[in-house]
Each structure stands twice: as structure tokens, then as C-alpha cells.
């Protein structure tokens, strides 16, 4: 038995013990597992490695933190409530259109930040009450926004797992927009309908109106949406003419947040920013922890062991290995799974269209956010809809998860044919 295998088991064991038995947060469990790996491999405390590992995500930490501040500012200004009013008012009689639209709203923060938690905690927090008003049971509403979280994380323009996977083979994150839209948007429509349609009650506007915040939109009008619009425009410009507008997402979000302070309801920006960062900290902590974990796995050879073992799977079982190991490893983190397993699987699939394959692998990796014990997306969603045990939300996500895996594998298998379509 290779020493790296023993190390791997020890690290995962300590992680599980900390996360399940001692109920430490995932970030600290990662830190404990990393320390275990360092000590057992004779690297001492390896402080330099722990600290260096976190730097793999320092830019991502800034993106998520500023995105959360922006979303909180938009929420406090009343823009998200107003957006819901506009959507419900116009589409309430057409649930088949309304549900996908709400899904899109809930996905939006994930699309721009690349973080499912950003979606669930911001737009999800606004959409969920609307879903419940419309008649969805709390578990379904929770599953709805949890699903929006991971689909938003994978949908363009920002998809961190795909960037991580592509980065591993020197493939730029360019040309991913269309494949990612093809991967996520049909699923968004289908899942919004399957999770919601059967529960939607026909409610009259008079009945709904008192439960919605109509005041804000009446008072401020469309200018409420200016910050969202400006951020969207800056992001599009940043993608299309990066020479002039390549200022980066953190700065875009700060500009948007500053605008939101003047666009609608007044709020204390400092307090809002502080609580936004507080909400983001568990996710940011996980990123820091994953950074440490990956650094220690690389240092000790555990990464090589995992990668070469995954590559040793006979070709016939390759797809099964992808379907099982990536989501399982996602329990540690979907980003970690993308880096550790996504890259070697992409290398093993060199004959396929690389962009579509990487995009599909990133979608499978996103399922890590449903995988206990971390299950970020599901845990935050349960918190928001007020369900004590997140497993109740998770149950509604089992079948959709299998659909996601099958859909992603189909994209990989037919990657060349799909690429030929556009």
C-alpha cells in the first residue's frame, strides 16, 4: 500500500472526524486535515505551505467578498424586492414563464461571482419567500434556490471550476460562454418547472399584493435597477473590450455597491458591508482551507496518487469514475474536485472537444456543493427557507443531480457533435 494512500486516508479521516464528530466548520476541518498531512509526511507544521496554499484563491476571495457586498447593497436598496414585484406582477398568470424567470434571478449572482453560495444567500434569499408565497413547500423552495446556486455557478460569464480545469492544461477560459449556456439553461428551465410547477397555486393579485414590498418600486421607480444595470454593462464591456474595461470583477462590484447606496432605500453601507462579509466568511474560509489542503496534497504526493489512480481506471469505466469520484470529492469542495480530478480526467479525454468537455466536467464538479458534509448550496438554502435539517432539502435534489450527471456525460460523449452545432 503506497504511503500516499495512507496519508490520503488520514487526511480525509481527520477532515471527516472534525466536520462530523466535533462539528467544526469545513474551513477548520480542512486546516486540521492539512496539518495532519504535514505532520505525518515529516514536513513539520509547514506553516509556509499552509499560508502559501491560501494564495491560490486570494483573487477569488476578493471576487466573492465584493460580490457579496454588492448584492447586499442591492438588496438593502430594495432593488431585489422590486425586481420580484415586477416579475410576479407581469408573469403571475403564466407560471411556466414565471418559474424559469425566478430561477434566472436566483442564478444571477452565481453567474457573475462563480459562487453558488453568493447566489443562494443573496438572490436566493429574495426569491425563496416569493416561491413560498406562490405555494411551494419550503423544501422545494429550498431545493429551487440551491439548484439555482449551482447552475448559476456554472453558467457564464464566470465559472471558476471550468477556469481551474482549463488552467490545468494551459487552456484559456475563452469560448466557454456558449457551451456553458447550452449546458445550464435547459436544465434551469426543466428544474424550475419540475420543482415548482405542480405546487403553484392560482392566487389573485389582491391576495399576493399585501405580502410583497410594493412601496419601494413605487417610490424610486426603475432607477432602483441602475446599479445592477451598470454592473451588467461593465461586465459585458470587460468581456468584449477588455483593453479598456478590463478592470476586474472586484472593482466592478465596488462601483455597483457604491451606486446602490444612492439608488433606493437608505441604509448604513458600513454595516451592510460588514454583514455581507460575515455571510461570505464561511465560503471564503473554505476557499482558504481548500488552498491549504491542495498545497499539502501536492507537497506530500497525495495529489499525484489520486491523479494517477484516476488515470489508471480502464477506459470502459472512465465515465463511471467521472460520475462517481468528482461529486464525491466535491464533498471537500467543488473547486478542489475540479483541480484534483477535473484536470486529469480532461487529460484522459484528450480526444474530445476540450472546451465542451471541461465545461461538462465543471457542471459535474458543481454537484460537490450538494454533497454532505459541506453541501454549501443545500445548507445555505435550508437556512434561508427555515428548514432545520438540510437533508430535507437535499432529498428533492437527488433525482435532479442524477439528471445533471447524465446530461454532462452526454455532453462529453457527444462533445464533437455539439461543437459542430455552433
Amino acid at each position: 500500500m503506497p504511503f500516499e494512500f495512507i496519508l490520503f486516508i488520514a487526511m480525509v479521516g481527520v477532515f471527516a472526524a472534525c466536520a462530523f464528530a466535533i462539528k467544526l466548520p469545513v474551513s477548520l476541518s480542512m486546516l486540521a486535515a492539512s496539518l495532519t498531512g504535514l505532520l505525518l509526511s515529516g514536513n513539520g507544521l509547514g506553516i509556509r505551505h499552509l499560508v502559501e496554499g491560501t494564495f491560490g484563491y486570494v483573487d477569488t476571495i476578493l471576487v466573492i467578498a465584493t460580490a457579496m457586498v454588492f448584492m447586499r447593497a442591492v438588496q438593502e436598496s430594495g432593488a431585489l424586492d422590486a425586481l420580484n414585484v415586477v416579475i410576479i406582477k407581469r408573469f403571475r398568470t403564466m407560471p411556466a414563464v414565471l418559474l424559469p424567470l425566478l430561477m434566472l434571478v436566483a442564478m444571477f449572482p452565481g453567474m457573475i461571482t462563480g459562487s453558488s453560495s453568493a447566489s443562494v444567500l443573496t438572490a436566493g434569499a429574495v426569491v425563496a419567500p416569493v416561491l413560498i408565497i406562490l405555494g411551494l413547500p419550503v423544501e422545494s423552495a429550498g431545493a429551487f434556490i440551491a439548484m439555482a446556486g449551482i447552475l448559476g455557478m456554472i453558467a457564464p460569464p464566470v465559472n471558476i471550476p471550468a477556469m481551474i480545469i482549463g488552467g490545468g492544461i494551459d487552456m484559456p477560459f475563452v469560448g466557454f460562454e456558449l457551451p456553458l449556456l447550452l449546458l445550464t439553461m435547459p436544465l434551469a428551465i426543466v428544474f424550475s418547472l419540475t420543482l415548482g410547477l405542480k405546487h403553484i397555486k392560482k392566487v389573485s393579485w389582491e391576495e399576493l399584493a399585501p405580502r410583497l414590498d410594493l412601496e419601494t418600486y413605487k417610490r424610486f421607480g426603475p432607477r432602483l435597477f441602475a446599479p445592477i444595470l451598470v454592473v451588467a454593462i461593465l461586465m459585458v464591456l470587460g468581456k468584449t473590450v477588455p483593453q479598456y474595461f478590463g478592470m476586474g470583477l472586484p472593482l466592478v462590484f465596488i462601483i455597483g455597491a457604491a451606486l446602490a447606496c444612492f439608488a433606493g432605500k437608505r441604509f448604513n453601507p458600513l454595516k451592510a458591508a460588514k454583514s455581507a462579509v460575515a455571510d461570505a466568511l464561511p465560503v471564503l474560509g473554505i476557499l482558504a482551507g481548500v488552498g491549504m489542503f491542495i498545497q499539502v496534497m501536492t507537497l506530500t504526493g497525495v495529489r499525484g496518487f489520486i491523479v494517477v489512480s484516476a488515470l489508471s481506471v480502464p477506459p470502459a469505466l472512465l465515465y463511471a469514475a467521472i460520475a462517481i469520484t468528482i461529486p464525491m470529492f466535491g464533498a471537500v469542495s467543488s473547486f478542489g474536485a475540479s483541480s484534483v480530478l477535473g484536470v486529469p480526467f480532461l487529460l484522459a479525454l484528450l480526444g474530445k472537444n476540450q472546451i465542451i468537455t471541461a465545461a461538462a466536467l465543471s457542471l459535474i464538479a458543481s454537484l460537490g456543493d450538494f454533497m454532505p458534509p459541506t453541501a454549501l448550496s443545500a445548507i445555505f438554502a435550508a437556512q434561508i427557507v427555515g428548514v432545520q435539517k438540510y437533508s430535507r432539502v437535499l432529498k428533492r435534489l437527488i433525482i435532479p443531480s442524477f439528471v445533471i450527471i447524465a446530461w454532462s456525460l452526454a455532453f462529453i460523449i457527444y462533445s464533437k457533435q455539439i461543437a459542430a452545432l455552433y
Binding site: L50, F173, P242, G246, Q295, G304
Partner: protein
């Protein structure tokens, strides 16, 4: 003090202590290791001599000039374009410490991306450096760096890196990759300025041939190879044959026209130099490697690469003997001597001849340390 403030204080102190410990290593990494000038070195200049905009920046770097007694062609050797590919840097160091040009001039930039030597890539678990023991017992230490410019010197990365001359888009972190920034520009990033400085040197000194030394991970297709600009093809073909005589197998690939910003494309297009790039096999930068440490950097011995080779996943032969640094440096140095020979035979009016360059066999037998000079 309330209870939660006590815990906050304890956690803050522990965190600051960890930061201090790590910072000591990070700052130590900026200390420049000595390179000892050998008998051939006539002048040490700074790259800012050719582009003053670099003066005082972390990208300014030493250029060693070795002039032969007889006139002839000139060769520029770039080591340390990617400071995590040690055979390139070490080959440059051995040239500086040993080579004596007979005819022509040799320019060596051992740390082409000077900033990249001052840090390690996150999540790679790389050692900060590696040692060689000299015959007199002294140990020489060299830093193992990062593929890219230190973010402390150039930050943040854009989401997408646009190569200025062509508009080609690459992922944002390539902004700090020296070998994506050529021919460089004066109003660009620090990395692009370094590229510009090197391009200016080539123009001003009318460098006949430029050799960019690299390493690749064993699972990467371009490895143990020469990549040559189309104008450099005739010379490079001769080198491939010459190396065959020394039992060194090397591939020859044309520089892709659509992959922009690399030395073998841009230096060949933007200047009159013959531009080539060479790769050897380095397990310590690969993704399939096992334990990452100084020994792996120096020996390339790795059980997981042996396994991957059996699975048919690699582009170089790989067995239990690994690919030691002596072999990798030996390949580069032998090829450099072959390039000089080929240049002399292709352009007999401007010969290029070096003596004293450590030979492949001698390196394998005596080790790199035997060819390093005692540092003061």
C-alpha cells in the same frame, strides 16, 4: 475582557505568528543567489541598459556578456524564463561560470524573469530551492521559483490576457508569463516591459541566434524538443542531427504561427535573430508527480511518473532512474554547443565557438556541483 474577545485575541495572536513565520520564508526567497563569473565573462550589464524603463524595477536583470578573442556571430541564451524550470537557469549559470568563447559573443540572461525567482506558485508545494555540493565542500543554493512574475510586483491579473501585438486572448494569469508577452511594449505590464527589454537587446546587439531554455512536465506533448522559428529551421535541423551523434534524441517542431507572444514566434518575427526554444523533462512541475521536494527537482525520480508511463500517458520515456538534473542540463548545454557549430557551418563568415562548456558525459559522471565555482 469578554469571553469572545479573549478568544479573538488568542486567535489573532496565533494568526499573526503564523503570518510572521511564513513571511520570513517569503522574504528570504527574494535574496538573490550569487553567480560567479567564470574566465569568459567580459562584462555584466543590466537589462535596463537596453531599455532604461526597467531600471530600478524587479524586472531588471543581469546580462552576462562573454566576448571571444576573434569576431563572429552572437548568441543570446535565456535561462529562467520560467523560474520553476531549473535546468534552463542552471544551464545559463554553468555557461557563465565555465564557457570561454573563442570566436563570437555569448550573451547570457540567467534570470530572464527576475521577479519570478522571488516566489513559489501557490498550491504547488514546491521547495524554495535546491543545493549542490562543490568539490571543496561548499554548498551552492539556488532558488526554485514560479512560472510567472511575482504578484507582489504585478497585480491584479485581468480576467483575460490580451496579447498586445496580436489581440490573442489567453486566461488572465498568463499576463505574468514572460513567454507570452513578446515582443513586449513600453506602456504595458512589468512582464511586457521585461520582454521589450530583451527584444531591444537583440535588436541593438544584432544577436544572430536566441535560445530560450525551458522544461516541460512529462505529460506535456512538447518535450525533449526544439521549437524553431521558420528562419531558424535549417540551423535547428543540423543541431538535431548533431545531437543524434551524441545519442541525444530530440524532436524538432516548427513554431506555431497562431500561438503568439512566445520567444520562438515573436523574437523571430520582430527581429533578425534566429529564435529557438528548447524543452527538457521536469517532473517537479508536473501534475502527476508524487512527493514534491528538492530531491524530485534534482533527480526526477518519481514512482507515479513511472506508473503513468506504463499507462501510456507520457511523452518522454520514464523509468525508475528518473530524469536527473545533470541529464537535463547536459541536453541543453550540448545543444547550445551544437547550435554554435551549426551557426558556424551555416554562416562561415561569422563563426561562433565556445570552449569550456561542461559536456554531457562529464556532467553525468561528476555532477553539476563539479562545474560550479566557489562563491565568495
Amino acid at each position: 475582557m469578554k469571553k469572545h474577545q479573549t478568544s479573538a485575541a488568542i486567535i489573532s495572536v496565533l494568526t499573526l505568528a503564523a503570518c510572521a513565520v511564513a513571511s520570513a520564508t517569503f522574504l528570504e526567497h527574494r535574496k538573490v543567489e550569487p553567480i560567479v563569473s567564470g574566465p569568459g565573462v567580459s562584462e555584466i550589464a543590466k537589462l535596463s541598459k537596453w531599455y532604461p524603463g526597467l531600471a530600478g524595477t524587479p524586472a531588471d536583470t543581469d546580462v552576462y556578456i562573454l566576448r571571444g578573442k576573434a569576431p563572429g556571430a552572437s548568441m543570446l541564451v535565456l535561462g529562467g524564463t520560467h523560474p520553476n524550470e531549473p535546468s534552463g537557469f542552471l544551464s545559463a549559470v554553468l555557461l557563465i561560470e565555465n564557457a570561454v568563447p573563442v570566436s563570437g559573443t555569448l550573451y547570457v540572461i540567467p534570470r530572464a524573469n527576475n521577479s519570478g525567482f522571488s516566489h513559489n506558485d501557490p498550491q504547488e508545494g514546491a521547495p524554495t530551492g535546491y543545493h549542490f555540493t562543490l568539490p571543496d565542500g561548499q554548498a551552492r543554493f539556488f532558488r526554485y521559483g514560479s512560472r510567472a512574475t511575482n504578484p507582489v510586483d504585478q497585480w491584479p491579473d485581468p480576467d483575460v490576457y490580451i496579447h498586445a501585438a496580436s489581440g490573442q486572448a489567453l486566461s488572465g494569469n498568463e499576463t505574468r508569463n514572460l513567454n507570452r508577452g513578446y515582443p513586449g511594449r513600453t506602456d504595458g505590464t512589468l512582464t511586457e516591459k521585461a520582454c521589450y527589454g530583451i527584444t531591444q537587446l537583440i535588436r541593438a546587439e544584432k544577436i544572430s541566434i536566441s535560445i530560450d531554455l525551458h522544461e516541460a512536465s512529462p505529460e506535456y506533448p512538447v518535450i525533449n524538443a526544439i521549437v524553431a522559428h521558420e528562419r531558424a529551421m535549417p540551423v535547428a535541423s543540423q543541431v538535431v542531427l548533431g545531437l543524434e551523434f551524441s545519442d541525444i534524441k530530440i524532436g524538432l517542431e516548427p513554431s506555431p504561427k497562431n500561438l503568439r507572444g512566445l520567444t520562438h514566434r515573436e523574437l523571430g518575427d520582430a527581429t533578425d535573430t534566429l529564435a529557438v526554444l528548447m524543452e527538457t523533462a521536469n517532473a517537479s512541475q508536473g501534475r502527476l508527480r508524487g512527493r514534491t521536494d528538492e530531491a524530485l527537482v534534482l533527480t526526477g525520480i518519481d514512482p507515479y511518473y513511472v506508473k503513468a508511463q506504463k499507462l501510456g500517458r507520457l511523452y518522454v520515456p520514464y523509468d525508475e532512474k528518473g530524469h536527473p538534473i545533470e541529464e537535463r542540463v547536459g541536453r541543453h548545454l550540448t545543444a547550445i554547443v551544437e547550435f554554435a557549430l551549426a551557426m558556424s557551418s551555416e554562416y562561415p563568415d561569422s563563426p561562433l565557438e565556445f570552449q569550456g562548456v561542461p559536456e554531457y558525459q562529464a556532467l553525468a559522471e561528476r555532477g553539476v556541483g563539479a562545474f560550479l565555482r566557489t562563491a565568495p
